[in-house]
Symmetry: C3
Subunit: 321 residues, 3 copies
């Protein structure tokens, strides 16, 4: 056995990127043997953007491949700059068709019509089903393995205009905020764990009594005041901005998954909370869908109980750290 | 050209696993040149779990990447322990909503409603369409390239409670069995080939006359007696447990794909067989869907023609070897 | 630092293929260091089949992995032989169920029913959503990242019988043709860019006045005359074969995406153009769907305004170069 020092200066690999390698790490000898650490393109050995940042010192926002604890490789978007960076995009919820009431594309509520026999709807808030791609996240619903795989402490939310391309997400977003209380440590480590504890299901409880946790947020774009104005005047009268709230229940016992940006104090949560189970009793099927009844008094009017066109036509991107 | 012996002691690769390599295999010289066999993480060079077991001596149940004959890389679950192991998960069929009659999610029958004009339904039993992920296989329908790519001899079936996570599939399953007669060698090598010969299509034939093959099974969990009890007393009167049967046809000429665990002797197969074409004439649209009419006399009652709640809410995982 | 010449003769990698490497490229020394160019299986470093051909001299039609500009790795089919080769399959459109009017599977028009409130339908002609697989492209709709990522000059179209397997696509196709005028350079570089300029949307304009570009094609299989005969005699009276036309508008202001093979001179484009928005006013919902009203006067009759069975049951595969 002959000792040899070789140095990988540059490794041109699938994906077309040249991954500069540390000579000391690139190839090392151990007792006459050879150990190679190869990172293929953006396929770095990390299970979250946080790990990517900490371990590989990755600094740019953008798309990266992660590897889940089960070995699943998937690409997602990393926000490496907000409040220290290390945020992993795990899901995106959008309203593909406000006039389609629990029809195809309503994966965050139900694609089965408004149906009391299907109270949990599609069930994607607390299962391991995945769909969509990061590049298509503002064009169709999106959920990746990070949603259930990453053990997180905090959440960040971006409201990005539908069809925006990922390089412009940050600059085109209309609202961005994040928690910094490490609340997930008390609620199952991620949304999968949280919603196992707070099922999103028609009839699971009643308004006020069974509301899930409300976590204060810090704004990275916008403020409680600008947040408030995206929803109609009636809605503003029954929520407090500056929070992200989980599992809201309305007057008729329909369940919604996330009130993103606000904490309900009233029971008409269908006008400002998103996602949900498979049944909304009031005026059925009119409130059934991913963005429930954002169009309560007309599409995008921002009058009465109606949300603004801006928030109605924005994808809600959910990040973990 | 200088000869050199180098030994790769450990190779840390994307996926975060340390793949111990055989020094003699790791790097070899051939006539002054160098040949390297690199296995990246779980991306081993195998097209089935059987090959993974035989070639790489892989012994643990779990998720692995396979590569199909066309070069498609996909992850699936390998059962490496049952009856010698080497079983590849190729599909999962579940009823996402018993009350949705041939609606979204009924990929193993039809997502187009009960329709005589669409007799073959979605056609996934004999096409090369794929969907879902192994980690989400109990949360949504699943089919991978192995379904049509792997040339198999036998089949194994697990009935696993919906939403169970893959590490608990085996322990939480309610019924498991497999064939050991190498029947696939006579029927096209896999389900794709078998269903090309026995199309799943309304009106293709009549009950009893055109029933597809019934293959005896050995039970790995349960027995013919426990299998029988998962279906209602009326159903028990017209099937024999201990088989897996392909392409059943009922009284009204509707076609079902698999009677998993039983061999029909009567013609009300909609109460204990799964999958199918796109049209069930009787009481339309009530029998149309992935689990047809398991709820014939009420959901999960296990009375009359109704199946038990346990079997109705279990995903049918299909393996090849 | 010791200089050493090593030669990788053969590299056996995931995917099971032995990638013969150029000794001079395989491993090279640069100033005492080592640079390795590894191409994993079919994961070559190319973002299009054209680049694959030019850079790696790839000559065979078949499935290859490409890497998009964002680093997304995806597999697709390359036509390496037609008119110099280098054609990348980016999409496939088929009619899954002529009797399902804008139902599940109508991703190239709308899966939401015929609805004036949803004029753009699913919107996939000008978004970054993707779906399906190349191996399943004749079994379900297909769109990959190349659709929006590749900057192309020309287009090629294959009409391939549904459910045909990719090794037989070319030989079983019923019609093949391509442009050679580099028209994409004037229209946004690809279909994504083109349809951003010519939105496919009910009510966007009127027949004749707002027709998008018609580009002459050369036939690789068939001719203007055989092309013509795939559509009914009434249709033949109002189009000119030998073109591919984008964004047609009919009498009732419904929009269709592509008239593949023809240039409309009349306004009943629903009988020979495919894809579209989410609303066809005439005889609603009868004209709504991926293949609109190919069955205008009966399914597959090739009489009156009806297209032939052959063209109705063929997938339209779209290639870029």
């Amino acid at each position: 056995m002959k000792k040899l020092v070789v140095v990988i200066l540059a490794l041109s690999l699938p994906g077309g990127r040249c991954a500069p390698t540390d000579p000391d790490v690139g190839i090392q000898y151990h007792s006459g043997g050879l150990s190679i650490d190869i990172s293929v393109g953006r396929h770095l050995n990390a299970s979250s953007c946080k790990q990517l940042k900490e371990q590989y010192n990755t600094k740019d926002d953008g798309l990266y491949y992660l590897t889940s604890s089960s070995g699943t490789e998937y690409m997602t978007f990393c926000d490496m700059t907000t409040a220290g960076g290390g945020w992993t995009l795990v899901a995106g919820a959008r309203e593909n068709n406000m006039y389609g009431r629990c029809t195809v594309g309503d994966r965050w509520s139900s694609q089965q019509g408004n149906d009391i026999n299907n109270p949990g709807g599609d069930g994607n808030w607390d299962n391991t089903n995945t769909f969509g791609t990061p590049e298509g996240a503002t064009a169709d619903d999106f959920k990746n393995p990070g949603y259930y795989d990453i053990t997180a402490e905090d959440m960040s939310v971006w409201h990005v205009p539908n069809k925006a391309l990922h390089p412009t997400w940050k600059s085109s977003s209309i609202l961005r905020y994040h928690t910094d209380s490490k609340f997930f440590t008390q609620y199952g480590g991620n949304l999968y764990g949280l919603f196992k504890r707070y099922p999103v299901r028609y009839g699971i409880g009643q308004c006020n009594v069974n509301l899930g946790p409300s976590i204060p947020v810090k704004y990275d774009l916008g403020s409680p005041d600008t947040n408030k104005l995206f929803y109609g005047p009636n809605s503003r009268g029954e929520f407090q901005p500056g929070f992200i709230t989980f599992r809201a229940i309305n007057n008729e016992r329909a369940a919604m998954a996330i009130c993103s940006g606000v904490k309900p104090t009233g029971c008409n949560t269908e006008h400002y909370c998103i996602g949900g189970g498979g049944f909304w009793p009031e005026a059925g099927p009119r409130q059934c869908g991913d963005f429930a009844s954002f169009d309560g008094e007309g599409y995008g009017t921002n009058l009465g109980w109606s949300a603004s066109k801006e928030i109605t036509e924005a994808t809600v991107l959910l990040f973990y750290r």
